[in-house]
Amino acid sequence: MLELKHVDTYYGNIQALRDVSLTVNDGEIVTLIGANGAGKSTTLMTICGINKARNGEIFWDGQPIHTLPPNTIVRLGISQVPEGRLIFPDLSVQENLDLGAFLRNDQAGIKQDVDYAFSLFPILAERRKQLGGTLSGGEQQMLAICRALMARPKLLLLDEPSLGLAPIIIRQIFDIIRKVNADGMTVFLVEQNANQALRIAHRGYVMETGSISMADQASVLLASPQIRAAYLGG
């Protein structure tokens, strides 16, 4: 279980997160929706230890992680697929996947997971030797998700996986998110595409200018007139 308690994060003097508290229980898909610049990505980067929380605490399975360096947090089972995918453009698809398993040493298991990744997205198997930068946006997103899965995380953080992709690809990616969750992985999904996100999530949080403004069951949020007006186009 991931727990954020009264987290404040700053960029220099500018406060990006204000008193953010949220919980992601084991086995859930929880979504964080909000407008551009609301602080959603900052929330993920704070969980991963890239940005440090100035105040507040973050617990993972009861253990405080807000003081730990990013590599330790990955080791504890939290992986992120960041906004913009951040594929290594000059590394091959295979090498991108290998690096996802950077902290692992079980060669047999790694090979098995590469095969699993290729079974999720067969197109990646065809592109195996191609450089990451030559893939299309959708393929890069698939690769980014598989790269994160290579660490065998318990909690997968996804930052706007649908951004800039064609509807058919978005559907494919959301299907995979649902599938890995059904296989036991906890998912924390940040999205601007509130409609799609709330449809696959169990619970949702709404973020506005760095604070959590609403929290409820996903179905309740989806039906809420306030949310419909603000995020679902009326």
């Binding site: 990955v74 290594f88 000059d90």
Partner: protein, 302 residues
């Protein structure tokens, strides 16, 4: 213009070029990871030459065979310089991580001046003779002495070093992590790669390469001095820019091209214009193709 003379110049150029390439690799590795021109890199090379000189001098009393002394001295230089590179980064650059780009650059120049003067004070300002430790390679006679034993040794050693480096970067886990960190440090950290360790490793590897270059050049020239690092460093920097800074094959190619150009200019025109040519190339490259021969044009984000 006889062919023999041409071949001598050609191999002389390759020898020179492979030393430039070894040093240039250190510039380019560091630049690739933290976008810093490590101006103290030439000094690490000079310290490598001095370390080898001191160790070889000490071992000279033991009656070891000459070739054995050279190997031990080279190993000592590699280890000592790696330690220098590691410390240099921790002392002069790490505290400035996140500072404006000019600050670490000035810190680098400061470190360069400091190291030169430290060696000047602790050793001497004179040229110090480097012992002759090279074995004679008899077979060179059969190819008509187009290169001397030291040229041969430099070519073989630097080629092996560069092949080893390429394999390390391309196939090992740490090599992949280095490339990943160079391409996107934040993403590398999100995968659990300890960026600080990778940066340290980069300095260690770059400094070890410079040490090898230093030992080779010292045994080639037969003398060392506290400021040999300055000119060699500038030339290697030129080579790195020529090939495309940040690119490993670029540094190797740039070193070779620069070495050959210098050698042919010296041989066919005049030895007086050697440095003019090198820095002339630097200026022309910076004006017309700042990304170098193999470098990729970077799209500046606005």
């Amino acid at each position: 213009m006889d062919f023999q003379y041409f071949l001598e110049l050609f191999f002389g150029g390759l020898t020179r070029g492979s030393i430039y390439a070894l040093i240039a690799l250190g510039y380019t590795l560091v630049y690739g990871i933290i976008e810093l021109i490590n101006f103290a890199h030439g000094e690490v090379y000079m310290i490598g030459a001095f370390t080898a000189l001191i160790v070889a001098g000490l071992l000279g009393f033991t009656g070891f065979p000459a070739a054995g002394i050279l190997v031990v001295a080279a190993l000592a230089a590699v280890i000592w310089c790696a330690a220098y590179g590691y410390t240099l980064e921790k002392v002069a650059y790490k505290p400035l991580r996140g500072a404006p780009r000019l600050s670490p650059l000035i810190s680098a120049i400061g470190m360069s001046i400091f190291l030169q003067n430290y060696v000047l004070l602790s050793q001497t300002s004179d040229f110090v003779p480097f012992p002759r430790l090279l074995p004679e390679f008899d077979f060179l006679e059969y190819i008509g002495y187009i290169m001397g034993p030291s040229d041969f040794l430099i070519l073989v050693t630097s080629t092996c070093t560069m092949v080893a480096l390429t394999c390390f970067i391309r196939y090992t886990k740490m090599g992949k992590a280095m490339r990943a960190t160079a391409q996107n440090r934040k993403m590398a950290m999100l995968l659990g790669i300890d960026a600080d360790r990778i940066i340290s490793l980069t300095f260690i590897v770059g400094s070890a390469l410079a040490a090898i270059g230093g030992v080779l050049i010292a045994s080639h020239m037969g003398q060392v001095n506290f400021n040999i690092g300055f000119l060699a460093g500038m030339k290697a920097f030129t080579a790195a820019v020529l090939g495309g800074i940040g690119s490993l094959p670029g540094a190797m190619l740039g070193g070779m091209v620069l070495g050959l150009c210098e050698s042919f200019t010296t041989g066919y025109i005049s030895g007086n214009y050697e440095d003019v040519l090198a820095f002339g190339i630097l200026i022309v490259i910076l004006i017309f193709r700042p990304d170098g021969i193999l470098g990729k044009a970077k799209v500046q984000k606005v």
